[in-house]
């Protein structure tokens, strides 16, 4: 079980002034700028959960992960990972966790992958028996055999990610932290990585905490998501709930025969709602009229009726709001505005 209790992290840096004069001024100035990267975040994660930890760039995701893994100390509050405080008992915690940073490898650049694993076996004190068994499993889910003898620097991004994931799992950690594990990967590799994470989670009950910008990762893997914005937690709950509560928009696209009449259509006026509630767009080339509206305030037949009064409709498509759009809204406006 992971408990994060009222954790905050502040970065203090000397104030910078512009220009050459500023540089000289900066030498003598003692003014400091305090930036709050994470502010009073609390949550609890049970064993075996897969949790998506999401937020826009600079929201404080990585900072939180770094505090949970023991890389950084919180300014206030504490993390307790399986009863261990990572910043106080760094080594003990490290033995229990696996970490993958998508942007940078933790393997030895010049060494063949096989040798990296030999070293990791020593570092994590893995017994020969466990090692053999573990490698067999990792090979099966990550197909490391294909490039096991090649130096890490010669691996493709996808292979490197599989290797990094394997390396993080060699010592059978109870918690796996993944910081953007699918960044820059092609669709097939992404699928493989996701499948592997799922399999590991199911087989070993490994707790997985994952930050990502890829909505696909979240939809495929996470039963629960935590969203942070500007260092504060703004949502913590299941994916379904998020969709139900905030995915209130629906889009109807109609292919129409004679576009001319459409120009005169004032849909919001006709339905008695604001233009914000009911947005109309027309693609002249494809002759497609798209109407996006709040499903609690406007019904589909109302829209269809209004349009069909004016012109003949040859094709209709109805779309629920995608998770990606919900998340985009949240990033843009914060949670409060997203549901209006």
């Amino acid at each position: 079980m992971i408990e994060v209790r009222h954790v905050s992290k502040e970065f203090v840096s000397p104030k910078k002034y512009p220009g050459l004069k500023g540089a000289i001024k900066g030498l003598f100035s003692t003014e400091k700028v305090v930036k709050k990267a994470v502010e009073d975040i609390s949550f609890t994660i049970q064993d075996g959960e897969i949790v998506g930890y999401i937020g826009s760039n600079g929201a404080g995701k990585s900072t939180t992960i770094k505090m949970m893994t023991g890389i950084m100390r919180p300014t206030s509050g504490e993390c307790i990972v399986n009863g261990i405080n990572p910043s106080a008992q760094r080594k003990k915690n490290a033995q229990e966790i696996g970490v993958v940073f998508g942007q940078r490898t933790q393997l030895w650049w010049d060494l063949p992958l096989s040798e990296s694993f030999t070293i990791l076996k020593e570092i994590y004190n893995v017994s020969d028996k466990d090692y053999t068994e573990r490698m067999k499993f990792l090979n099966q889910v990550l197909q490391l055999d294909d490039f096991f003898d090649r130096p890490v620097r010669t691996l493709s991004l996808g292979q490197r990610m599989r290797a990094d994931l394997g390396a993080a799992l060699l010592h059978n950690p109870r918690v796996l932290y993944l910081d953007e594990p699918t960044i820059g990967l092609d669709l097939v590799v992404k699928d493989n990585i996701r499948a592997a994470i799922k399999e590991i989670n199911e087989k070993y009950q490994t707790t997985v905490i994952l930050t990502t910008h890829d909505i696909g990762d979240i939809e495929e893997l996470c039963s629960r998501i935590i969203i942070i914005d500007e260092g504060k937690k703004i949502y913590d709950g299941s994916l379904e709930e998020l969709k139900d509560t905030y995915g209130t928009r629906r889009t109807v696209s109609m292919e129409i025969k004679s576009p001319k009449e459409i120009v005169e259509l004032d849909l919001p006026g006709k339905l008695g709602v604001t233009e914000q509630t009911c947005k109309v767009a027309f693609d002249e080339e494809r002759k497609v009229l798209s109407v996006s509206f709040d499903k609690h305030k406007v019904q589909v037949p109302q829209v269809l009726g209004a349009v069909m009064e004016l012109t003949e409709v040859s094709d209709i498509q109805i779309q629920e709001t995608q998770l990606a759009e919900i998340v985009k809204e949240i990033y843009n406006h914060g949670l409060n505005q997203a549901d209006s």
Binding site: K66, G70, I71, R73, R104, I119, N125
Partner: protein
């Protein structure tokens, strides 16, 4: 004990790997070795040309100066060989966040830093140093009784530790100011002063390299003891005290440097902020 064994085993694994990499690029390795070797040789040639003009330099003979010069290379090269990765902490690892990986593994951080890399070029320096010292012994200018030989090895180890401590101390600044390479470089280059007898420098510099950044205790002072010259602690002293003080300084500086490093780790902020 079990922990020490585990660290030893891991160090061996890492070093073996490292040699495999070197062997894959043998020519590169040999060129680097030759480069360092050659750089040191020019220093000797310089002394040789100078002594074409004068018989003694402030009472020191060419042979004695060559011994000091050669002796200075040995602790330097040992430190260089084993702990070269500390430079990367100062220049790169902290500021770009690569230091993260040491924090994520269940082992001592300092051990991980130094175990990651051997600097084979240092063998060039070690070679020059050893050749010069052996040459001096054969010339009979070095005192070679059991005590001196024993203390010779003690002094080399203490000297290497002083080098390592100074490097670690200045490299640790990186945890506060992100990159401390330039500071480390300034401190490290002061070692150049210690290749020659320190009496010839201005008083301020003498004090600096003897007591502040004590490179004189790594090279010139112990070397003068092995040459049988006394007098650092007043007339009549055999200078054997120098080796004792060298060890004391090594221990003290190591403790200071390592505490600063530990403190630095505790405030490490990683990159991206």
């Amino acid at each position: 004990m079990k922990t020490i064994k585990r660290y030893m085993r891991l160090y061996k694994v890492l070093i073996v790997q490292f040699f495999k990499v070197i062997m894959q690029s043998k020519v590169d390795f040999l060129m680097g070795l030759f480069g360092f070797f050659f750089t040191q040789i020019t220093g000797i040639l310089f002394l040789y040309l100078v002594f074409e003009q004068i018989p003694l330099l402030q009472g020191w003979s060419l042979e004695q100066l060559i011994f000091i010069y050669g002796f200075a290379q040995i602790p330097r090269s040992i430190d260089h060989l084993f702990t070269d990765n500390i430079w990367l902490v100062a220049w790169r690892l902290v500021i770009n966040g690569d230091f993260d990986r040491y924090m994520l593994r269940p082992m001592n951080v300092f051990f991980q830093v130094i175990a990651e890399k051997l600097q084979p070029d240092a063998l060039g320096e070690l070679l020059v140093g050893s050749i010069l010292v052996i040459h001096s012994c054969r010339k009979g200018i070095v005192v070679t009784d059991a005590l001196h030989i024993g203390l010779f090895f003690v002094s080399i180890m203490a000297g290497a530790l002083i080098y390592t401590s100074i490097k670690l101390f200045f490299a640790s600044f990186a945890f506060w100011i992100k990159t401390s390479g330039p500071f480390l470089q300034v401190a490290y280059e002061l070692a150049d002063f210690a290749k020659y007898p320190t009496e010839m420098y201005a008083k301020g510099i003498q004090f600096l390299i003897t007591w502040v950044i004590p490179f004189a205790f790594v090279a010139y002072l112990p070397a003068s003891y092995f040459l049988g010259r006394g007098g650092f602690f007043g007339a009549g002293s055999s200078n054997v005290e120098v080796i004792g003080i060298e060890c004391l300084i090594a221990g003290l500086f190591w403790c200071i440097a390592y505490s600063v490093f530990r403190k630095g780790i505790s405030i490490y902020e990683s990159a991206g902020n």
